[in-house]
Amino acid sequence: MKRLYKVELATKLADRVYEYWIHAPQVAHHARAGQFLILRLHETGERIPLTISAVRGDAVRVIFMAVGKTTQELATLRAGDSIKDVAGPLGKPSEIGKYGTCCVIGGGVGIASTPLIAKELKEAGNHVIGIIGARSADLLILEDEMRAICDELYITTDDGSKGVHGFASDVLKGLLNERTINRVWIIGPAIMMKVTSGVTVPYGVKTYVSLNPIMVDGTGMCGSCRVTVGGETKFACVDGPEFDAHQVDFAELMQRQRIYTSQEKVLLERFAEHQCRCGEGGHHHG
């Protein structure tokens, strides 16, 4: 059988952060900003969702942090290796429109989602402001790419090693005080999205966040990814992943993200042991 989902390029971007280009024509040809894919590495693998970060020809780009077992294992694949299954694009595309001035904010590995959204907003005729933030300068990704797309780009680092010393929310607050911003997108860890989207509430600016709950099928069949938005249960995989930030129950999202913490630990320990035994812990990327 033809092995479809070949890794075309594997690059390490920062500590534990990787950029992979995967040959998946049915995903690449239809992907829009805000959508994700689900991949399964091999027969015993888990299905995990990853945001589609870019598209080129028949290939899609994913950027991920190797924190769980599956992402760590994915990070051991090199160009030419294959992934068993890739399905997508999944989820609703971002609500792109001509709004005026839009702000696209990425935190940490969440920056991966921002170029496609910023690009489509720009193409729709918006003035696009990008804010990308990381813990420190060496963890900041896609700066050049975002600079090329956005009309303005702000950089923040938690430790002040680059750009504004502080958080994206600080920059956003400053901008909101200075001028009219019509729409805001925020993508990052749940806690960062919660805090940052809180900033836009008093200004009444419609703000989207891209939620990342645990998923299985990604097509609306299981309800693993259910989130409460505006008091209603929604399935992030088909009703989202983007939702009105001001309606999202972040506490519940974060609680549900922790369902399998202890099982994940078991997998990681087994994986680390396996890597040691096989002497495969030290792949070089780049």
Binding site: Q26, V27, A87, D217, G220, V238, V266, L267
Partner: protein, 464 residues
């Protein structure tokens, strides 16, 4: 399901459990419960058939298998002939023999059932299909290629059946499946102890061997555009009723609350029971409440039991009102699932994780329109079940994703695709069958509707 009293009375006769592995043994694994008939037993059972001139059993079969003919062939020891007869009408006999509600269909109609027990048609069907699988399957003939292209969306029972029928008529058939495995509910929904996965794979491979193309990981509407789909000469929509319903009670999003779909998918499709050999986890409840009284509820309860839990089945009506196959109810009880009937959950308790299920007792006085008693909560009768996991198996509705993306496709109140008796939708060359058209029903009903739609598609493509 039909009237509760007649169903359970008929079922008590039909639901034989004689080939079953002992309950205390089988709850320790996921191997098949029913070991099936031996060749001698099959022949002896087939010899009981009266070979009625006007066989009622055939009328009871949604896919119109020539039941007396295949039973006669079994009685004569002509197992290949019996397999051929079955596959003329049904390409998934090993599956149907295991999961059809025979008690309300063929076996329910068998005249022997009036005075003694009906012929065990399902067990015979399964025997023949298993015999053929083990002794080399014969492929049915296909017509010469017509040059027509047909897209089938979904590879569950309806999609597979339509694909087989269309391929046999000579059309170039492509099945699109969104998951990484084919089979739909046969793969993700029905547990291996009821329907072994190698049986499902073998029958799917039989369909694919008719030169049917299968594209896995393709979610039509997302990975394939609607325009591309409608570019086929004919389209058969069989996307199923996969959208799980939740009760809408407080505490539903606590950790430890599952839809039956999620729980079963994690185990059946992703093999979470074999964690950490397989990477997908599932919570192991010590005490699990399963809500519902259908086949899916029984499946979820019995899976949880096999994973070591003490399981309670909470159902708002009486046991005899349960829509599950009688044999599933019997099996569940044998496996020490505790039935709490006439009880309805009102609230899931817990901080972060589930710590209990509050229920209210239901009074069952008046019969409602379906002939079942209409359950009413008894005020002040609330009680709390001490559980750490809750699985909701209260039904599913048609998958909205693709059908909501097709402009002009008429949909019914419950989100189902509206079709005529031949599976025609509001778009001329688009047909639909199975649960997406009927709402959640049985495997065999999905196959029956797929066969009618395939026949209509064949007729349409011949005329062109």
């Amino acid at each position: 399901m039909s009237g509760s009293l007649s169903t359970s009375a008929g079922a008590a006769k039909g639901a034989t459990t004689m080939g079953d592995r002992p309950a205390d043994v089988r709850v320790r694994d996921f191997k098949e419960v029913d070991t099936g008939l031996s060749a001698d037993e099959a022949i002896a059972e087939a010899e009981r058939c009266l070979q009625c001139k006007k066989p009622l059993c055939v009328k009871g079969c949604p896919v119109c298998i020539d039941i007396p003919a295949f039973i006669r062939e079994v009685a004569e020891g002509d197992f290949p002939g019996a397999a051929r007869t079955l596959k003329e009408q049904n390409m998934l006999p090993a599956i149907c023999g295991r999961v059809c509600p025979q008690e309300t269909q063929c076996e329910g109609a068998c005249v022997l059932g009036i005075k003694e027990t009906p012929i065990r048609i399902g067990a015979l069907e399964r025997f023949v299909a298993d015999w053929e699988r083990q002794n080399g399957a014969e492929l049915p003939k296909t017509a010469r290629p017509t040059g027509k292209r047909v897209a089938v969306v979904g590879s569950g029972p309806a999609g597979l059946t339509a694909a087989a029928e269309l391929a046999r008529a000579g059309h170039a058939v492509t099945i699109f499946e969104s998951l990484h495995e084919a089979g739909g509910v046969l793969t993700y929904g029905i547990p291996a102890f009821r329907l072994p996965k190698d049986v499902v794979k073998a029958e799917i491979n039989q369909v694919l061997a008719l030169d049917v193309r299968l594209k896995k990981n393709y979610l039509v509407g997302r990975s394939v555009s609607v325009d591309e789909l409608l570019g086929y000469d004919a389209v058969f929509l069989a996307t199923g009723a996969g959208l799980p319903a939740f009760m809408g009670i407080p505490g539903e999003n606590l950790n430890g609350v599952y839809s039956a779909n999620e729980f079963l998918t994690r185990v059946n499709l992703m093999h979470a029971d074999a964690f950490p050999e397989f990477d997908t986890p599932v919570l192991h409840g010590g005490r699990v409440a399963v809500i519902g009284g259908g086949n899916v509820a029984m499946d979820a309860a019995r899976v949880a039991r096999r994973m070591g839990a003490k399981v309670f089945l909470v159902y708002r009506r009486r046991e005899e009102d349960m829509p599950a196959r009688r044999v599933e109810v019997l099996h569940a009880k044998e496996e020490e699932i505790e039935f709490l009937t006439c009880a309805n959950p009102t609230r899931i308790l817990g901080e972060g994780c589930v710590s209990g299920l509050e229920c209210v007792k239901m009074s069952l006085c008046d019969l409602d329109a379906s002939g079942r008693p209409s359950p009413e909560p008894i005020p002040g009768s609330e009680f709390t079940l001490d559980v750490d996991m809750v699985i909701q198996a209260i039904g599913t509705s048609p998958n909205p994703l693709l059908v909501s993306l097709i402009p002009g496709l008429k949909r019914g109140r419950r989100g189902n695709v509206v079709v005529d008796e031949n599976g025609r939708t509001s778009i001329p060359h688009v047909y639909a069958g199975g649960d997406i058209a009927t709402g959640a029903a049985t495997v065999i009903e999905a196959m029956g509707s797929a066969k009618r739609a395939a026949a209509a598609i064949n007729a349409m493509l011949r005329e062109e």
